[in-house]
């Protein structure tokens, strides 16, 4: 599937949803995602370099230099989701496997290799990867892409654990990136422009943090799917004005519901926490759980991880601010750092969300989240007295576990916790 087809699908969605007078934030979300793909597709004709980037990317640097960042693996997830939606086979997994990428690695990375090997993506001028995180496959995939495309590549190394000099260290890594970009594109970094871009992302972050705090309210003022859009927005448009528009719109909506005492479900029977990555190819499962059982995911592993608030008017060097911003992101520690440092925080956050059930999506390609299963399950039981359901699945390959199989397991679990609460079970 070429990017143009993908953009067309987003156009259709925008038009479709407008007929239903959906919240402003949803409209902005689809527009932003469309524009993100459009920027990648038209970069060449606009004379801008295109960089394939890791999800752990300081996007602000690229925006400030008019270099278009394009996160390849999330795109692979979207492609597989659309293939599933259209009842088509996503051929890129097999192409990635046949290129030599391990078939038991994370499926979006297999598909990303497949997309790159089949020349389906706009060709990169540069590649930015990380040398250490968020996981082995997400790191290694950029090595392979770099070897395949033979373009200049920069790897930023993030630490596993922080020291007093960590800010200076990460600042130096980012300065290395800027020097690399300047060398290979001939463009110069404008620090004031970087500062302005960073201001936007700090404000967007503040709004997002408030949204996810309000999500803990009873009744829950945000649908799980809409909550997850935060993740996509930040990946696609960190530092972009339209991303701030999205978070501000979503915050207005959520605040309004809280002030009116409204939830997003007609009746909220059960509150759930989701851990591990969602089955992205079938996010309909989140709607199904809501519609069928009145059960809503009020917390998830991705959005439990906060970024600390920062002062957007801090006069410090913007590259240093950017380093501080990344080091404040608890998600880095949560996914990559020692579990003993993070698990208690996660549990406290879940406690605040007052959940009735815990569902862990076990993505077979993800060694690091699967490796947390036992620790996580035991802690949830110890601290909250809740059993955890493990749903085996793949985040983007429906051939591994079907949606119906996942639903059957979730049904049994919800039946069990509803009985425990003395509530009627949906048929």
């Amino acid at each position: 599937m070429k990017l143009q087809e993908f953009i067309d699908i987003f156009d259709e969605r925008v038009n479709y949803f407008r007929r239903f007078n959906l919240p402003e934030s949803v409209d902005i979300y689809f527009r932003c995602m469309r524009n993100y793909y459009l920027r990648a597709m038209t970069a060449k004709e606009e004379g801008k370099p295109l960089a394939w980037v890791s999800i752990m990317c300081p996007m602000e640097i690229f925006h400030a230099m008019d270099i278009v960042p394009f996160a390849v693996d999330p795109y692979a997830i979207s492609i597989s989701a659309f293939a599933y939606f259209k009842k088509e086979d996503c051929v890129y997994f097999d192409i990635g496997d046949s290129y030599g990428y391990p078939a038991d690695a994370c499926s979006p990375h297999r598909a990303a290799i497949g997309l790159a090997a089949s020349n389906t993506l706009p060709e990169p001028d540069l590649i930015y990867g990380t040398a250490s995180m968020p996981c082995d496959s997400a790191v290694a995939v950029f090595d392979v892409l770099s070897d395949m495309k033979k373009v200049p590549t920069y790897f930023a190394n993030f630490e596993y654990r922080y020291h007093p000099n960590s800010v200076q260290y990460l600042k130096t890594e980012f300065q290395g990136l800027i020097a690399f970009l300047e060398e290979h594109t001939g463009r110069k970094m404008d620090k004031e422009r970087l500062r302005e871009t960073l201001k936007i992302s700090i404000k967007a972050n503040r709004a997002m943090m408030e949204i996810h705090q309000l999500r803990k309210k009873r009744p829950c003022p945000l649908r799980a799917r809409d909550a997850f859009n935060s993740f996509g927005m930040r990946l696609a448009g960190e530092g972009m004005p339209e991303t701030l528009d999205f978070f501000e719109a979503q915050l207005r909506e959520v605040r309004g519901r809280v002030e009116r005492g409204e939830g997003v479900l007609p009746e909220e029977h059960l509150r759930l926490v989701a851990s591990g990555p969602y089955p992205f190819f079938a996010m309909e499962i989140l709607d199904w759980v809501q519609d069928k059982y009145g059960a809503i995911f009020v917390a998830d592993m991705f959005n439990c991880a906060p970024w600390e608030d920062m002062d957007e008017n801090d006069p410090a060097d913007p590259v240093e601010l950017l380093a501080r911003k990344w080091l404040s992101f608890f998600g880095m520690e949560l996914l990559y750092g020692p579990a003993e440092n993070t698990i208690d925080y996660l549990i406290d956050s879940i406690k605040e969300s007052q959940v009735d059930g815990s569902i862990f999506f076990t993505h077979f390609g993800c060694k690091q989240t699967c490796g947390l299963q036992k620790i996580y399950r035991d802690k949830i039981m110890e601290e909250l007295g809740l059993p955890t359901l493990f749903v085996d699945m793949d985040i983007s390959d429906p051939k591994v576990v079907s949606v119906d199989q996942m639903k059957a397991k979730i049904h049994e679990y919800i039946e069990m916790i509803e009985k425990k609460k003395g509530q009627p079970v949906a048929a």
Partner: protein
């Protein structure tokens, strides 16, 4: 002693490593388990503690399987099983690093569920990139590690002790390198199986004792007759994931191969590069461990390929066996890069997937035979 006797002795120590170390523990020697060759043993040694590599065992892993999901590699599950089975009850501590997803989660489970059995646990942050900035940050990490050992074990790690430990380990490295250099010969005096047995023994015993044995072995090997039919066998380099089973190499060698070098963490990646004794010790250690012969956790891969090509040239390697433990994304993903890079110099590569235990060895035989036939052996 002749080479056979020394090799047998080293093999015996390795096979009975837990009993051997337990006896020394009873006499007051402290032990620290480490799990990946990016951990600078010298700092542990300088604290008066004997470092030993945490390896897997020879049994199934029913307990570890309950703690680590089935997509965690069978090596870490086996190592964890050994710990749950009290095979490492002589350890005073366990140190891991952010080597890969599997080892990170091994550490998480070990530090939470085996706290009572292993009094000191820690994990090091080792950079995944070779640069001056990462060397500097790793030096800071080593300072933290050193201080944590001093605090917990109530010892002072002096600069002198560090320098002595570096000298001791450099001697080990130089001796192993000399032994490996004998394999450049068209008629080498030892097999790849034996080479792995030699390296493994050194990871689980005190280096001063080991060095004495290596010196005797080196002398004995110099007068040892060449490996039978060495000239008729295909000269191989074996590379890939953690492999601690010399039997695996023996199977390949019995089919007509001769492993003359490796890119393994239980091989050259462990000892190939010396620590610069002219530098301040922690600075020198940081530099050596970040810039040593890299495994695929280090970026960029081009550095690894360059060194690999040189090794292939120096040891007159004709083909490469690329073994990859199941679910190892690092080695699995590096394969297309290595394969393409070696194709540029006309070196064929056979990729073999494997598990920690020697299951599926029949497949290894079949595929290796077919590979040898395809390259005209």
């Amino acid at each position: 002693m002749n080479a056979e006797d020394i090799l047998a002795e080293l093999g015996d120590i390795y096979a009975n490593r837990h009993q051997w170390n337990r006896k020394r523990r009873e006499r007051g020697q402290r032990y620290m388990g480490w799990v990946c060759t990016y951990i600078p043993e010298e700092i542990i040694q300088a604290a008066g503690i004997t470092p030993v590599r945490v390896l897997g065992g020879n049994d199934e892993t029913p307990i570890a399987d309950a703690y680590l999901y089935s997509n965690l590699c069978s090596f870490v599950r086996s190592a964890l099983e050994e710990a749950f089975m009290d095979k490492y009850d002589y350890l005073d501590g366990f140190v891991a690093l952010n080597a890969c997803d599997h080892i990170r989660r091994l550490y998480d489970v070990w530090s939470i569920y085996l706290k009572g059995k292993t009094p000191f646990t820690t994990i090091l942050s080792v950079p995944g990139k070779i640069s001056e900035n990462t060397i500097a940050v790793f030096k800071e990490e080593l300072e933290v590690f050193k201080e944590s050992l001093e605090r917990h074990f109530e010892v002072e790690i002096t600069e002198r002790a560090l320098k002595e430990a570096i000298a001791l380990y450099n001697t080990t490295r130089s001796l192993l390198k000399e032994i490996y250099d004998l394999r450049k010969d068209p008629q080498p005096p030892l097999t790849g199986t034996e080479a792995m047995e030699i390296v493994l023994a050194g990871m689980v015993m005190p280096k001063d004792v080991y060095n004495e044995k290596l010196k005797s072995l080196l002398e004995a090997l110099k007068s040892r007759p060449p490996v039978p039919n060495a000239g008729e066998r295909v000269r191989l380099l074996i590379m890939g994931s953690e492999l601690q089973e010399p039997e695996y190499i023996r199977v390949i060698e019995e089919l007509g191969g001769l492993v003359v070098n490796d890119d393994l963490c239980n091989g050259t990646r462990y000892f190939w590069n010396l620590v610069d004794t002219r530098e301040e010790p922690l600075e020198a250690l940081a530099r050596r461990y970040v810039t040593r012969n890299p495994c695929p956790r280090m970026r960029p891969q081009t550095e690894r390929l360059t060194r690999l090509k040189q090794m292939i040239k120096d040891y007159r390697v004709e083909a490469v066996i690329y073994e990859c433990i199941k679910f190892c994304d690092m080695h699995g993903a590096a394969y297309p890069i290595i394969k393409r890079g070696l194709a540029e110099i006309g070196i064929p590569v056979l990729k073999l997937d494997r598990e920690h235990l020697l299951t599926g060895i029949g497949q290894v035989k079949t595929r290796t035979q077919a590979f040898f036939e395809s390259i005209g052996v």
